[in-house]
Amino acid sequence: MSTVATPAPAPAQVPGQLGEAQLARRETLGQLFRSKTFLVGASMVLFWVFWALAGSRLTPHDPLSQSPDILAGLSKHHWFGTDQLGRDVLSRVLAGSSDTLQVAPLATLLGIAGGTTVGLVTGYFLGIVDETISRVVDAVLALPLIVIAVTALVALGSSKVTLIVVIGVVFTPIVSRTVRAAVLGERELEYVQAARLRGERAPYVMFVEILPNVMGPIIVEATVRLGYAIFAVAGLTFLGFGVQPPSPDWSLQIADNYQLLNAGTYEWTVLFPGLAIASLIVGVNLVADGLQQVLDR
């Protein structure tokens, strides 16, 4: 088995290989920054991250302050008009990203962590463990994500923490499938056999040997999931199970105001928050697309 050690050592274990790994990483980064898709997407996302951090400090008006000037149309003073309580729509749109941008990434992180663990375990052990867990995964995936989430949120009550946990848990089986597939491609390779023959324990082989080699698909999956997490948070908030008032969250603004459309006007109260959600999600997708092109070769 000495042939295994020389041509394909596990990266970052042999000091001499470190330079090469760093070079490869720099090469990947370089490709990313040459990708127009990635750059456009990243700047859209960063724009909203900036406003999430700046919040009401930089908005032209206080996003929560009410005024007697209700449902005013677009004007010099209120670029995007005002809503039912006289609040400035532009300020609310700018401040509206913060809750989504807290919940969605944390939920994604939880789902990726859970899914990676489940995927590694099922893909590595196969057999009865895999069979049992995969059945449960199938059953969960038979339900639309939003139906499970609504049921769970009603049971547990809506708060940011439950929202994160519920979306993270729902993502776990989905992520685990991707990771499992990637692990199946690795588990028969020589470096895994070598580690096993060395007498390494299963957790070591899974997390130290296999995990670094399936990071590519996991990163891509994470960005794709982030898009879906924003989608899910937006949908659940719209239904009233997600972010709660008085947050200026975009979906909440739409939920509060969409019935005004029955009057045949006041479209600015919902159109601008809608476009904001759309731009954030498109940005995340462009980043995901850019990453995929660079990492999946």
Binding site: A142, P144, V147, A155, L239, I281
Partner: protein
């Protein structure tokens, strides 16, 4: 079948998680403890959980879905009409989305890497990932508010003809179409590209067949198979999308029903309704599998049996 059983356990467990005393929830905070106890006993929710599960699932299998706690009428009476309403909406969405996305995917594949392809692919990807209620809002603003071509609500006045009903359902189904278009077009595009690159297509061209003949007899027949599988897996999404779209358009469908049941903690309705959704989804998947094997001679007598 096993999947279905596991599903029923999960749904039941989730419904059991609903916090608080069920009798207290239904009767309100001013009911006497005695009344609450009587209510709980009548509805059998004071029995052991395993008994309750068995009771529910054995009745469910015989078609008895129990009584709604909120309206005190059989769940089936509420579920039936709303399921029909949802199917109308879903059917219209499907009828619209399948030809549009097949066409989009095929055109994108034939114009591969040219501007038309990029536009279709990027637009599809973006539409797919934008929440359906956002797309719907934009559509309402354009067609309902600015142009005033289509009604803003989805419910047609009672007794309207089928044509009027379709007019009312157009906007909500467009919103669903927008989300599904991206998926289906992407898979179609990939399938067509694979078929164009295949050896048999080259052979067909070299035999001297016309482009149209090659396209219809060789390329499309082979490339549409994976598409069918994808269309079926999207039923699950479609039902979830209905939840949001039906609320937005105030349309009395299964999504709206599940939503109300969830807010009112009507757990009998919730567990039966959600299980029905799961069954509809699994049936759709099964039908797609059967259709797939009928269309694909290679797995017609496959290992499934």
């Amino acid at each position: 079948m096993i999947t279905l059983l596991v599903l029923s356990v999960i749904v039941f467990a989730a419904a059991q998680l609903l916090p608080g005393d069920i009798g207290r929830n239904v009767l309100g905070p001013f009911a006497s403890p005695h009344d609450v106890a009587v209510f709980n006993h009548e509805h059998g929710v004071d029995r052991p959980i395993t008994r309750q599960y068995w009771d529910w699932i054995s009745h469910f299998v015989r078609g008895d879905l129990g009584d709604s706690l909120q309206y005190n009428v059989p769940v089936a009476h509420l579920l039936g009409p709303s399921l029909v309403n949802s199917l109308k909406l879903a059917a219209l969405a499907f009828v619209l989305v399948v030809p549009i996305s097949l066409l989009g995917g095929i055109v994108a594949a034939l114009r591969r890497n040219r501007i038309t392809d990029r536009v279709i692919t990027v637009a599809g990807l973006s539409l797919t990932s934008i929440p359906e209620f956002v797309t719907a809002i934009v559509l309402i603003v354009i067609f309902g508010v600015v142009l005033k071509w289509l009604p803003v609500s989805a419910t047609a006045p009672p007794g309207s003809s089928a044509l009027i009903q379709i007019k009312y359902l157009l906007l909500p189904s467009f919103a669903l179409v927008a989300v599904l278009f991206g998926y289906i077009a992407r898979i179609t595009r990939a399938g067509v590209i694979e078929a164009i690159d295949a050896d048999y297509t080259r052979t067909a061209f070299l035999k001297g067949l016309s482009t149209r003949r090659v396209l219809f007899r060789h390329v499309l027949r082979n490339s549409l198979l994976p598409t069918i599988a994808v269309v079926a897996t999207q039923t699950g999404y479609l039902i979830g999308g209905l939840l949001v779209i039906e609320k937005l358009f105030n349309y009395n469908g299964i999504g709206q029903r599940i939503y109300t049941a969830a807010t009112y903690k009507d757990f009998t309705f919730l567990q039966s309704g959600v299980l029905i959704v799961g069954i509809v989804y699994l049936t759709a998947t099964l039908l797609a599998d059967i259709l797939y094997s009928l269309l694909n001679p290679r797995i017609r007598f496959g290992s499934a049996e």
